[in-house]
Structure formats: structure tokens, C-alpha cells
């Protein structure tokens, strides 16, 4: 892949707030891993276990922490956080298409909508009544933005996103394709014969600097709003039920399912495919491992897990059958201990 952008090492040192060791005029045209980098590219060492690759790396320069200086031949951009500097570099070399400003002919924009400056609205996008869009908002092809939705500045909806009525997004919120924000929460009252729908009268309120992956769904609240805090990052195919509150800067990895009325603290990390049952509260700085189920509130920070560890199915089956006898095993063990104690 060829990137169109080009920077000298001197420029990069300044932009990435790093100290240059090497030729400031050396031109960098792209980024690559230590293993695959070629001349003209910038690489980085973040995970120390890859330090062995430094010597053979073909990159023209490497983002690196001071402590690895001696193991690294060639030009270096020295920084205390090579991974963060690399993240900033990806922004410099970003090669995604820039959407054209203005409203595409085929878009349907209600006359009551209020649009900020430099807005881009793509083909077949639909903007309903009383929508408010901040400056530099991008609404790509096929999006639906419902009645009275408000998007802050620099929000970006990729193609085919659906936002229901009265959802509020802060500034700089990015939503990937296929995601749906503000559909009805799943609420029914059973009358003994059938389920009576509880209409969902709340909305969804999303803070600033939130990213929402593809195919993710965030339901509107039953009476009050579902809330996503500032800086929260949500991966693909995540489901967030009605009335949830997700604390600032938490990370929700792909395929996670969060039932209704769950409160998650700040700086949490929900591992991929994890789940949380309804009405549970999770403290700040909790990490839940992949495919684990949180079925009780977690009042303290730390890492939590459920499940078992992979093994060959033949071996697993024998152990899984024994799991069914575990209470009996524990009781029988206790019995033996008791009889032994007596002797």
C-alpha cells in the first residue's frame, strides 16, 4: 500500500513530540511493523518482546523508548510512549477518503434541520425534522438521522448508520456502518397470556470523543436516557441495553452484550464477547476477560473472569461430565476428611 503523504524525520520529530537521532532530511512515506517495514517507512517498538527484531528491521527510522536505544541501529525518534506516538503518526499518514462538503443531490434534508458549517451529507442520506448538526459533521451515504437528533461538531456517521429520534451525540463522535442508536429498549410486561410492550420514552445521550464500531446497537432508555460517557470506545457488534450508563473512557470490545439498566464505571475494559446481566453495577477500572459473564455487581477494581480453559474436546468432555458431579465430589471429600479427622 502506498501512502500519499510524506514527512521528513525532522517534521515527524516535531509533530510526534519525539527526539530525533539521525538525518532530519530523511523522508518517510509510510508506517509499518518492525517485521515488514521497508526503506522509507517508520516503524515502532512498543512491546519489548519484539526488541529482537530491531537489528534486522529495514525501516528508515523507529519510534522507540530511550531504554532500547542501544539495541537499535539506524535513525530513531525517541519518546517515552512509542505506542502513543505511533497512534499519532497513523493520523498523519491517514489515507481514508475525504468526503466532499455540501449536500448530495439525492439526500433528503428536512427544511427544519439546522446545519453547521462545512457539513457533508452523502447520497441518499435522510435528515429528519428538527435535526441539529454541528460544524464539520459528515453523514455518509444511506444514513438515517431521526427527528430532533443533535450531533455536535466533527461527528462522523459512516454509510448506512441509523439514528432514531431524540438521540444526542456530543462533539467528535464517530459511528461506523450498520450501527443503530436509539432503537427501542427491550421491555415488556407479561399479562399472564402475552407480552405488553413498554414503549421506550427515553433517549440516548452520547458524550464527546466517542467511537462506535460497525453493527453495534445502543437502545434508548425506557423513561430516562441511556448514557455513554466521554471518550468511551465501543467496538463492532456490541449491544448496549436501555438505561445503561457507561463511564468515561471505558472500552467495550467486540460482540459484548450489556443488558438493561447496567452501570459501568470509568476506565473499564470489557473483553470481547463478554456479557453483563441486567441491573448490575460495575466499579471504575474493572477489566472483564473475553467471553466472561458478569452476573453480580463488581464493587472493586480488578480483573474478573468466568469459563474454562480450552482443551481437546475428548479431554474436555470427561472433565465437563465431572463438573456435573462437583457438588457431590466436594461433599464426599468432606466426608473423608471428617472420617480421617476422627481417627
Amino acid at each position: 500500500m502506498t501512502h500519499k503523504k510524506k514527512y521528513t524525520l525532522a517534521q515527524l520529530a516535531e509533530l510526534l513530540d519525539a527526539k530525533l537521532t539521525g538525518d532530519g532530511q530523511c523522508e518517510i512515506t509510510g508506517l509499518a511493523t518492525l517485521q515488514n517495514a521497508k526503506s522509507g517507512q517508520l516503524s515502532f517498538l512498543s512491546n519489548p518482546s519484539y526488541a529482537g527484531q530491531l537489528k534486522s528491521c529495514q525501516a528508515s527510522a523507529i519510534l522507540i523508548d530511550e531504554k532500547f536505544l542501544d539495541s537499535c541501529p539506524g535513525y530513531k525518534l525517541v519518546t517515552s510512549s512509542p505506542y502513543v506516538a505511533f497512534a499519532k503518526a497513523t493520523q498523519l499518514f491517514d489515507n481514508s477518503p475525504i468526503p466532499p462538503k455540501g449536500i448530495h443531490d439525492s439526500a433528503s434534508v428536512d427544511t427544519s434541520a439546522v446545519l453547521g458549517k462545512n457539513v457533508s451529507i452523502g447520497p441518499n442520506a435522510v435528515i429528519a425534522a428538527n435535526v441539529s448538526l454541528g460544524d464539520d459533521v459528515v453523514i455518509a451515504a444511506g444514513c438515517y438521522v431521526g427527528e430532533s437528533v443533535s450531533l455536535g461538531n466533527a461527528c462522523k456517521l459512516h454509510g448506512n448508520v441509523t439514528i432514531y429520534h431524540r438521540v444526542v451525540l456530543g462533539n467528535n463522535v464517530e459511528v461506523h456502518s450498520g450501527s443503530v442508536i436509539g432503537a427501542d429498549g427491550f421491555g415488556f410486561a407479561f399479562d399472564g397470556r402475552q407480552s405488553v410492550k413498554i414503549h421506550q420514552l427515553g433517549g440516548v445521550k452520547i458524550g464527546d470523543n466517542v467511537e462506535i464500531g460497525a453493527g453495534t446497537t445502543i437502545d434508548r432508555g425506557a423513561l430516562e436516557d441511556t448514557e455513554i460517557g466521554n471518550g468511551v470506545k465501543i467496538d463492532n457488534q456490541v449491544q448496549i441495553g436501555h438505561n445503561c450508563k457507561i463511564g468515561e473512557h471505558s472500552i467495550i470490545c467486540g460482540c459484548t452484550g450489556i443488558a438493561g439498566s447496567v452501570t459501568i464505571g470509568k476506565y473499564c475494559i470489557m473483553g470481547g464477547g463478554s456479557g453483563v446481566v441486567g441491573h448490575v453495577t460495575i466499579a471504575d477500572k474493572v477489566q472483564v476477560s473475553a467471553m466472561s459473564l458478569v452476573s453480580q455487581s463488581i464493587p472493586e477494581p480488578g480483573m474478573y473472569s468466568t469459563g474454562t480453559i480450552q482443551s481437546k474436546t475428548s479431554v474436555w468432555k470427561r472433565n465437563a461430565i465431572r463438573f456435573q458431579q462437583l457438588d457431590s465430589i466436594a461433599k464426599r471429600l468432606k466426608e473423608i476428611e471428617n472420617s480421617t479427622d476422627k481417627k
Copy 2:
């Protein structure tokens, strides 16, 4: 949030089939929880564990069961099912936008389509050949309704729903955004070298009063129809494989995955993130807990589970490693028991 609708307590007593204790002229403008209700709002007590909040509740009136009358100051709407009455009240106060009748200029409606009375077809919606829509059907922006699809009266497709050819929906079926009904079931025959596609010749048949959440997929049958019974409620991001039969009034919570040719009985509840392997049959009134896997048929009603309970990862890991030794542990225990018996 301000609701535009307003009812007197006398009106609500009649509409919700409740007995009023208090001023029939008192005006109610919205709904709220016991904890957050303000003057002018109606609240409800359903879960007895919240009864302690009755005394300090600021609501103008409360939907309540007779047995809590004494603990509740202020006006009351007395009913034997406060939660069902609350559900009905949410319909009265529903504040979602009412879609305009008629066909939007930008919609593509095939001339062979047969439309009922008062149909609403939104911007960029596509209605293919030989589609039949009942009265009061709403097809929101960006939906695709395939060839020979039939929708009963009062069906509602929210924005960006896709319905493949020859899918049949009964009356009053609501489908939320991003959902896909009638895509090909996942069927291949392996010829020793590669997978040969089994074209899916069946359809999908959905009963009356079904609700389908956002981002849910229901596949068409291989030879016959996939069937969803009357009154079934399906949450977001649920996957239902080809040839499944879901019995009437069952509830499928979010992120549940049901493989092909599964039969689920009536009045079942599948917990969030649960799974069912293919060709399994589940009786009526079975409940499966969150993230549990059904890998064998369940012939009797009751609650079923798999998995383990959350703990700190450090503790979990020690136990999970021991799970791998469980068969050995059971055998060694048996050996000790045998040797003890001999003595």
C-alpha cells in the same frame, strides 16, 4: 424530557382499568420511576423491594397493588398488575414521531405492489415486485422489501431494514433498524475439497404481534420456512438459523444465537447471549440463563444453565486449571473411597 400528552387521573383510571384513590382532575403529563418522579408525573410500584421509596416519592400518583396501599401516601391508581398498567401507560405517553402517510418522492415502489390503506413509505425505501402491504403499514427510510413479500396490517419497519423475497409477516409486526429477514441459511455440502452451496429455497413466516430488535437476523429455510410464532419478542443482535420454529410468546433476549433446525416451544425465555446448537428441540416454558449453551434437547420446562460464576481472574485461573484435572480428581477420590471402604 417533556411529553406532549396530558391525562387526568380520572381518564387514566379508566384507560388503565385501575381504581382511583385521589383527585380525578389532577393532571398527569408523564411517567417516571419512583426515585426520579416529579410533580405532574405518574409512577408505579412493581418490584416490592422498591416499596421503601414510596414515602419520599414526588409523583402526583402511583400505580400500585392493593396490598401496598397503606405504605403509599398521596394519590393512587390501584390495580392487580401495576407493571402491566404501567406498560399500557407508556403507550398513552408514547412520544415517538408519527410517520407521514403516503409514499415519499424518493421511494421506489414497483407498480405490481399492492398497498393497503394509510400506508407510509419513507425516503429511499424500495418495494420490489409483487409485494403486498396491509393497512397502516409503515416502511421507514432506506428499507428494502424484496419480491413477493407480504406484510399484514399495522406492520412497522424502522429505517434500513432488509426483507428478502417471499418473506411473510403477519399483522402488527415491528422490525427495528439494521435487521435482516430472509437471508440465505448457512448450508454447504463439503465435497472433500470445497464447500458446495445449498441454495435456500424456503422462506420465513412470522406470525402476528411479533417484535424484532435492531441488528437481528432471521434466515430463510433450506426447503421449508423458518417460522416465528405469534407474540414472539426478539431483542437486538439475535441470530436465528434456517428451519427454526420459535413457539408463540417466547422471548429471545439480545445477542442470542440459535443454530439451524432448532425448535423452541411456547412461552420460553432465552437469556441474553445464550446459544442453541443445531437440530435441538426445547419444550414449552423453558428458561435458559444468560450466556448458557443448549447442546442437547430439553424435554421439560424449567430453568437451565451452563458456565461458571465470576471471580477475580487470579482466583478463577487457579480453579480453571483444576477443571482440566477434574476427571482425574474424581477418579482419585473414588480410589480413596474404595481403599477406605476396604478397611
Copy 3:
């Protein structure tokens, strides 16, 4: 369901490469299971456990292996692979609508796009700049095909599919509705206060003869491409993270979540709802059972599992509580063994 296509048994014997026993002029108008077949239909016996249904089967002919000849009255199409022959027959009787050639008036096709012969572009589909479409490509209603995307011959995108920029599909790739290919991988560097986005500069490269179900998401790579090999079949609601490599002819069942930088070998089968943590490598011909989590690399072929087996929740709970004591149970057992040894 009535199929419009009709074949004589003589024609089917030739088309399916089977040996006919019976009347070559007998007309077949559709396919059905042994149990539900009627006169005029073709059925098949693949799973020997259904052999008992042969005698009462009403089908006009049956696709069958030689070894069941004697148990099968009536006409037969004899083949060594009845299931593969059945798969081929489903293609003959495929009754899905044939999309009209040409570009629908409401589609937006950038003037720089290069289109092959016999292309079909549906209503409201959007084809961005520098897209290349092979011959016989079908892009159904509401699809978005991003900048510089390349689709080989005979690719088919069902309605409301989203393909981000610079994604490459080989020949004969079918993508079902609601799926999203090429959204940003989930990458952030934490700077101690907030998450800094790692812009995803790679793309997605998909081989030939790949099928991708509905509501599936495949993320673009961080620096290099995410790669899906030839012949891979992916079910609905699967999530494939950035930088993954899925080997040829592997099968990924519904609701599976594969984290970033995972390498899966050839001819693998990932069971429904299974998961793989990041940076793991899985050998060829590995099978992972439903809802199992792969948290470590798998260097050898075979079947792998995690989890426990379903039981009544009351029973499960007692055993699950004992799981929390498993390390202690194992230690106490060892102690008893030691004390017994000493005697």
C-alpha cells in the same frame, strides 16, 4: 412452495452426475426432505439415521448412496455423495429473483467507476470513485461501495451492504444484507488519560468463492490487510478483527467473534458463538465447538472446547459454587493422598 423449474429424472441424472434407476421421463418440480416430500419432488438420504424414512417417503425419486439401494423402493438417483448432489440440485431449483441488468435510475455511480459486462446496480446503491466491478456483478438496493473498491466477476452484494474504501473482493463473492466490510479495526493507544485512535491504514482482501452472511463485520487492517482466503464461508453476525488471516475453505459459524491479528488455518470450522482472543494462531483443520473460547494458539488439528454442559439451574448452581472451591478441593485431595501414602 412451488418451484417454477422442472427437470426429467434423465436430465437430473446427467446434471447431478448420478446413475438413474427408474423412469427417465418422470418429471421433478422441486426438492423436499424425506419426511415431507410429495409426488413430483426429489428427496435425498445423507444422514443414515433417516434411512428408516425411505419406505414411507412420497418423493418421486431419491438421491441415495449405493449401499442403501435395497432399503429404498421407487426411483433412485444413485451417487457416492448424495448430500453434494442435493446441494447441486438446490442450484437447479433455485427460485430467488433474478436482478435486472443495468443501473437503476436512483443509483449514484461515480463517473470514474469501471463497470464490467452485465452488471446490475439496484435502487439507491452508491458506487464511489475509482471502483472497479467485474462482469455479472450484482449490487442490490441501498449498498454503499467505497472509493477504490474492487469486485471480481460474479460478485453479489445483497441489499444494504456497506463496503469501505480500498477493499478487494475476488471472483464470485456473495455478501448478505447488513454486512460491513472494511470498517476501522479497533485500535487505540492509551496515553494515561484517554484513548488515542490508531487510524487503520490497511484494507481487506477477500479471495474467490467466499460467502459472507448477514450482519457480519470484517475490519480493515491497521497497517496491512485483513485477509479472507478462497472458499471461506462466513455465517451471520460474525465479527472478524483487523489483521486477521482466515485460511482457505474454513467455515465460520454464526455469532463467532475473532479478535485482532488472529491467524486461522485452512479447512477449520469455528462453531457458532465461538471466540478467539487476539494474536492467536490456529493450525489447519482445527474445529472449535459452539460457544468455546480459544485463548491460546492451537498448533495441532483436532476438536477443541471450553465451557460446561447444560443442567437445571438449581443443580448447576451447586456445582458452579463448588467450581469456586476447585483449587482448594484439589489441594485437600492431595493432602489426603499424601497422608494415606505415609501410612
